[in-house]
Symmetry: D3
């Protein structure tokens, strides 16, 4: 199998097909135009510079097109940077397609769908179950395609649903150790907590923020959605307000985007599970590329820390 772009070392030659994730034109300090291109395959992405680019180049090399490149891996200010020696657009004859280059969740959309359905089926409170099912159905297609975030963690196709399923499995394990937990409420909160992202973001790939996303944010959007779903389903039990509260408070603090702190046990737990799964995902992705006895790149969403992989963790431990 081909080596992923995320795993090349400085000095290694690179030759292959990649998807252009983003392409921005600049003017170099010698006055000539150049392009900053992010090239992507299923392992991640890397920055490359195309110097002295022509107007044709700017038209050819646009986001979401596929290119073949030759070059050498370099390093600029501590981050990998590919030195391009050759570049051309892919043609039909090359037999490559966009989905070959998209990183995707370890589980298929079908598997994810099945898992979520199973958890909804386990719910005993009819109000919670109906609200959850109704909202999931309404946004189903997007829910199983969107990433969990524009960057930082679970930033891949189906990342949102994969993150939700990991959290559900974690919630189930916790509820065995801490039997006081109300799993109906917790499962529903997990499924709904980030569902507003399908309205906040423009699409599953190369997403930007919509006007509603910028002016209201995915938390307020989802709180509204729950209110309207309750109206349509004619549900007016306390479950409606409580579920709205779980979504509203899941960032835990005003300065992190939640106007109310969690005031219900399952709201507090939802926040901690969300945080736990996101941090595990980020640490694993960074450590995967790191040798024992070395530090990872700085990870912005881990308070910009470099994590250390102990030299006695020679092999993937625990497996």
């Amino acid at each position: 199998m081909k080596k992923g772009i995320a795993f090349y070392k400085v000095g290694e030659a690179v030759d292959g097909f990649f998807l252009i994730k983003s392409a921005v034109r600049g003017i170099a300090s010698n006055g000539k135009p150049f392009m900053t291109i992010h090239l992507q395959d299923q392992s991640g992405d890397v920055e490359a510079k195309l110097w002295d680019c022509s107007p044709e180049d700017e038209e050819l090399y646009i986001p979401q097109s596929i290119v073949r490149i030759g070059g050498e891996m370099g390093n600029y200010r501590g981050k990998s940077q590919l030195k391009l020696k050759a570049i051309r657009p892919a043609t039909e004859l090359d037999g490559v397609k966009m989905s070959d280059f998209l990183e995707t969740a370890p589980l298929s959309q079908d598997e994810l769908g099945e898992a979520v359905t199973k958890y909804i089926f386990e719910m005993k409170n009819p109000n919670i179950q109906r609200l959850t099912r109704h909202l999931l159905k309404k946004h189903q297609a997007a829910f199983f395609e969107y990433p969990a975030a524009v960057k930082n963690h679970h930033e891949f196709v189906s990342g949102l649903a994969y993150h939700v399923v990991s959290m559900l499995d974690l919630a189930k394990a916790l509820s065995k150790l801490y039997p006081s937990l109300d799993t109906d409420l917790l499962y529903s909160g997990i499924i709904l907590h980030d569902l507003g992202k399908v309205i906040e973001l423009s699409g599953p790939v190369a997403a930007s923020y919509t006007l509603e996303g910028k002016l209201l944010g995915h938390i307020s959007i989802m709180v509204n959605e729950i209110g309207q779903a309750a109206k349509e389903l004619e549900i007016d039990g306390e479950e409606v307000t409580v579920l709205q509260h779980l979504v509203l408070s899941h960032h835990s603090k005003p300065e992190w985007g939640s106007p109310k702190a969690p005031l219900i046990r399952e709201a507090e737990i939802l926040h901690m599970i969300d945080n736990f799964d996101a941090r595990m995902n980020m640490m694993d992705r960074a450590l995967e590329k790191t040798e024992p006895g070395e530090f990872t790149e700085k990870v912005f969403a881990l308070e910009n820390r470099s994590m250390y992989k102990p030299s006695f963790q020679k092999e993937h431990v625990g497996k």
Copy 2:
């Protein structure tokens, strides 16, 4: 006219009828029960202590009942405290009623209603006008009765509507000086910004927080209400999201309760007008009771400052 309770000085005798605003039982350090009673008339309220109270006292002197008392104004840790010498419940023969004791806005509910109606009538954007009219109508009765806040500013009957009308007048004056302002948007934002308080609070007098108030807060409540009104009126222009944003951002910062900062000129102005009118109200109330050359009591919501009244402001200036 009778002197209001807020204006007595230490050592003065007090004799008259008052409304009990709150009554809390305690155990004194000698082991005997006592009651801490807040007595209120239209000028404000004062704390009083009823020592060695009997079980009958506790049944008689409850919130929202009227009493006749005799006593002397004292001072405890820098705040006025009434020393009770005699107390009895009011009887029918006394000819007093609750509304005699409630502080109320300087304008009647009719005048306030007329003023708000006039501003809605001035709106030219039909979407904004219909949404505003619909929501005001839905919560009309409460809107003209509620206080603007549980404490701090405009804490009196019709305080919310009076605060809104002051803000509308201020917005009108500003729009003459700064003609770029969109008055439709601004007037609507002013009318709606705190309307969620009629759901957040339990009632117009002696209000506490409802469950929705505690779990969601008046801002999220109103954002939802706008969304549902738009659905009922079948309006889906950008006005809906923009009005939701004005309400959502009117506290300006996450740590003050707004998950989004104002991103629209009229949202920023709404925040400043709200702040301006509240601060004027608090300063005027504190300075009214203060002699020239003296400092006011500490005002909590003015960052706990004591304001100074210059000695050359001998008479009410500006009038």
Copy 3:
């Protein structure tokens, strides 16, 4: 079975034996001495006031003595306060002993010991296993007796060991869902992270801080202990520094007492597990005493929040 002191309501008569947890003398505002006594049984503790106390009272009613009291539950500033009507020291004839009044972990010291031993047995890295076993053995007696904290969470006999076992079970469940975790490191970090408390605190019951506790704190104390254990066992692999780092960083932030943030995956996870188990414990204890549809008392270590128990959680859910 007798009702615990934590579950009495205002107005109920109280009659029974209790352990004096603390007793402080004061001067009442009438100039007479009184005592503030905390009375404890296995359900928790309550404050009581003994007014006009004599010098004999002060000698009789000292911490860790047992008394029989009669009185009535009251309330002072929102916290329960027992109104004493009668008090006398317990005598031999009463047939009560101190351990009848101490809250204790749900598992016996034997069960806790067995559980910890099992996890140490599972470790494969010999350096980690030897260090952990050595340090646990050195402080064994105290480890199985001490509370996890002076207040806030797991504040009961064997609280420290019980908290550790809960965390170990949680770590095991997590390592099944996240197989990249190094369980040797994580189990060892969990067992050692708070072991310094047996030097920081004066004893298992009614603990205060020792001089070392005040000048160095349990984190620095334990980092030292690991260093000395390594010297004695002649271990000098990277495991020593890494384990010291896990202990050093387990409060996560400088302002919370950790001079280094977690820089190893298992250090980050250790912090989150510690936090998770402590918060579950505090929430469960507060919610246990609360009816559905009500809010708990304010819980200081949960950022002073009152948690809400939804009214639809009628019975202990999830069981």
Copy 4:
């Protein structure tokens, strides 16, 4: 009329005369010298790069000289940047002069002077009136020429006086709605609050900070000036201290440069009016260049926000 430099779009050709606002020499990454020049006309300014510049260029193209340039508007990291193709100094024959290029207040110096005079004339307190008139007269020439700030808001010729007049008009409107305001004090505070800038800054155009500006700042400078004026005019009423306090506290918080918070009603209002007028000015300038349905550039002094212009604000509303 010629299109202003602030309104060109990327790709448009630019040809015309401009004033050089600043010119800084650098060494490009190819080792050759270049100049970063800010070109200005009455609409604003834009950055341009002159690559491979000669020593002659460095002597010719200096701040406050006029040049004719040809080029194309580009964009570098989200800000406009002019790509120079031709540049030459203006000659006498070109018939252009510096004042053609300076942005200036919408009112003439005469109009501004008249407005300020009118407000001073309205003052009834003789101490306040004499102090204000004396200080204004002392710094008159500079007051009517200086900008209100080096950047951010009212950054144009006569910007300081224009900002003051806007604030005075606003104060007058407010005093009609809030009649308790002492307009003498408020008008004087407004006129004096930033007058220290004529000592803090080096001049009306291309201003830098003087030594007094750096070591003392305009607030302390003006507090001193008021003290000395009072001495010269032999005024020693409380008005002196109160006016000094208004100037001292007008930034409201220590961390914003005011060692004392406002302790007088008019001091608090002065702070709010200052803030209000500055924010309106910044928002209007940013929104003027923005199409409906678009966001503005980030505005640093508005907490780095991009403001949104709703798409339903098709025309300049409110006019």
Copy 5:
């Protein structure tokens, strides 16, 4: 020699003359008036309660009168509190006078005056010397009488001058180790830095804040004084602005009261010397009353810490 009030232990009988430092009337929780009196001798002061006081008591026992009392030292919430058993006003026959009770600096006013004069004499820069001499002369009487602060450090008669002389001696010692220091500037800055307190505070004993103190603060007051002195002496060298800057910046940070941070070496050193001497003074006063092996009372201005006196510091070390 008589034992000072600061050194009594709980339970000891107290009998002697004291100065009343403050006396505040309160209402006890049994409804009766009482007085909280602070009694002072040269060693410090202690709180005492006079229960059930009569109107005559309130007239007799006023601040700055001398009384004879009998009582017993007690403790209330961790602070000493004297239990009064007998109290009477001192009479002429008692032969006691106020100065017997005032804590005072270890050096006489003459010694302090001589020391300051010596440092002024050492200055070589004539501008600095003349400004310093002029300002010191203007406020001479108060300078040698005032305390350095209302509380916290050097809170005794001549405390300000004593603090200044300690700082001057420290500056001299430092300038020998760090010869780059400009002693003229540093000595002058030390002498002037807190001189504004003689205007900020109402008097040398039992001081409160004047109106100028509250509205401007001692820093702005002194910056003004330097400006006016320069005018009177017709000095306009850079020394004026630099000295104003030293005073303005000596609290180092805006949030501590200095609108400008120190930008001159001697300004930075002035801040550090001020801080050093104040902290030494506070630590010495707290440790003086503490036995080896014990912690001091909490000291508010030392970030509320309790300092520990090591048990091996058996005797006053270093002497």
Copy 6:
């Protein structure tokens, strides 16, 4: 004597030998490789760019090699930057050696050693003396070679020992003015406070952080070292814990790296002396290169301030 590299002005020609302090390869915006080289002599260092460098260049010009260069001093973004015109490696014939280029303390290692020995000799407490002597001896070689910090202050050969000796002299001067100070404790704390840096850093020149440095930090390392020294010397008096506390708390606040604030007088003084000497060193180094009437470069560790050198400080004052 040759002029040091730190003192060249823009435009001056530079010709001479220098030590390469660091050399980093980059890719210029024209796609060609270049090197960023820091050249050092005893006066300081300067950045230089070697454009279009060959692979041979990259092998030749490595850290800690000596080169001869010709070029011209330039300026890039306000910092000096040397424009290289010629560069070649030094040969044996050039007769230059590394120590010619290293900035070094003003005192020799012998002088420093003697000074420290003298202070240890003065100690009277045998526990403190033995612990200090033992630890100093253990790390002696490194202690007299290492810099005090990687950057900011005393960043030169023997910088650590020189900083310690300056602090000891300062402590001695202070103890004469403040005789309550325990000089044994203070001297020992000064000698040990940063000794952990010899384990935290990789070496005396061009130091980086070791694994222990990154995971534990020099404070925890040294606290451990003291504990182990006490064990080896069989000392268990309170001195051990107290000395550990002095080291642990010498950064004063958790957010600056000290988990415990100073709780002992000498710990507080140690922190202030450390701060004082470091700040004097940084200010002197920056002001040395600055003309009277000018501001220094921004100094990062002085809160990024530019310090001003008054124009009346024409010559090195105080000498």
